[in-house]
Symmetry: C3
Subunit: 221 residues, 3 copies
């Protein structure tokens, strides 16, 4: 059974930690958008749990874990209270938040891919759903806040690509019968380091941009 990478209590603690850091990014965006305390709670919940709910719907794991584990639901509410009172301090800790978010990204893409595979999906689909678990909540957060998803924008440091690498690593490990706690941790750490490097050196993905402007210039000229 591939799902038991870690002891269940450790797995659960890691999940809650990932939910915690993702909820912070949702709550902070809600504060910036001037939402009320209920809006902060909604955005914290959606950001933290949205990716996992999407994955669970796709693999037929209903009700999604977000609705059966009380800790998953309560964690974003704790974040809501913290951010409600302490948001200037949390904003000032942005670097720290980003570092924990990178860890959450790695954790969720690995556990998401493993869960999808455990529910019988193929290797490619499992990697895709690992990616969706990790980034889906952020996309829902931005859609609800009526913003262009930061995931899709060219002017943001690489976020999804590290998760793609991590999810691909995981399914390669599965395919070669090598998935265990150590290799899963290796995949998480790989995502974590790639994301930190992307932030440090402002790595970005290319746009299909230059040629269009050339054409536009040619047509204008």
């Amino acid at each position: 059974m591939v799902q038991d990478l870690y002891a269940p209590s450790l797995q659960h603690a890691l999940d809650v930690a990932g939910i915690f850091v993702f909820a912070i990014s949702g709550a902070l965006l809600a504060v910036r958008k001037n939402f009320d305390v209920f809006g902060i709670a909604v955005l914290a919940e959606v950001t933290a749990l949205g990716g996992g709910i999407f994955r669970d719907l796709m693999i037929g794991a209903v009700p999604p874990a977000a609705f059966t584990d009380l800790g998953y639901f309560l964690t974003p509410l704790v974040v809501t209270v913290l951010v409600f009172f302490l948001h200037p301090e949390v904003e000032r800790l942005q670097l720290g938040v980003n570092i924990f978010d990178a860890a959450g990204l790695g954790l969720f893409c690995v556990t998401g891919a493993v869960k999808a595979y455990a529910y019988g999906l193929g290797l490619t689909a499992s990697a895709v759903l690992g990616l969706a678990t990790a980034v889906g909540g952020g996309v829902l957060r931005d859609v609800l806040a009526n913003e262009v998803p930061s995931l899709l924008r060219w002017d943001r440091d690489l976020y999804a690509v590290p998760a793609v690498v991590g999810a691909t690593l995981v399914v390669l490990f599965i395919d070669h019968g090598m998935l265990n706690g150590a290799t899963a941790t290796l995949a998480v750490v790989t995502v974590f380091i790639l994301r930190l490097l992307a932030m440090r050196y402002h790595w970005r993905a290319p746009r299909a941009w230059n040629r269009r402007s050339e054409v536009a210039e040619r047509e204008e000229g």
Copy 2:
């Protein structure tokens, strides 16, 4: 079986009435956004049925009731025709629309929570899904109309909080074995009155706002 709060025909009539009033808010927004008649119909359907479809997906009740009960589907089309021809009159009846909407809010959060519990979800998850049933359609309406969901905005009178109270009441009744037609009606009426009071006295939820502006001023000064 907790689902039989009312006689089935009464329950169905109430559901259709709730769908009717929710569809009005979707259709009116579509008119304001200058959508064509097809867009009016889509927004009416999504607003009226979106919350219930979301709940049914989460609890594994597929196909959702919205796709198995023809009355649920046809009601928003009737609303579309009405609003298409009579929207100035309907707009002028805004107060009346809001009052019926408050009744729909109460009804949907109660029946949504009861259905989720009947499908085996826990008390907290049932309350959350009751809330989602009542407000989910409105969120989808605003997302499709490319607006910030009015649910999340601080400058709107309390909408979700009455539904939170109602859904909480319902699961408390369930937990104490006290849920029946009378107590369910009590929960609906509680939501209804709270929402009317929120509109009358412009109750709003607090924002995490003042401290940020203080910080901004301090940093600017």
Copy 3:
């Protein structure tokens, strides 16, 4: 078994062709929105597969076909590479793209309705889900790109109405026991021709518009 309209290999080839043309519209919008290459891929995937995933969730066909057929997933990635390098040329072929898109619209509304019926839904619900299969991906594309769905806008040539006609034709054929490869093709071609005519003659659906402006004028005057 109503699902076998065409030989499986032909059906699959048609599906992939439909996914291909829908992915183009997603990828081109991503280029116009200045998204990076990852954003182009996401929008291509969502546009091409979103409608089918929605339908499969509603009818309980999980995991959705988009996650079990590798060709469905890889096709939008091929489109991403093409559009990334050749988008000025693809833009210039807009008329050709629109013609293929019209064919995809017809194909998806027919196969979507047939699949929904095969999963036990009623005739009306099957028609609705056929429509949702055909237009759902485009709505998700516009929501992710933070634009008002072009489906809902009055200033676009009819897009959904041809699909409504086609889906209605299909369920009428089913209801009269007349659905086969020939009648299904007739429905696809009907959608195709109606959509081409709508583009050629700029057919639009009416808005609930004039009366409001009359009222506004009366109130202003």
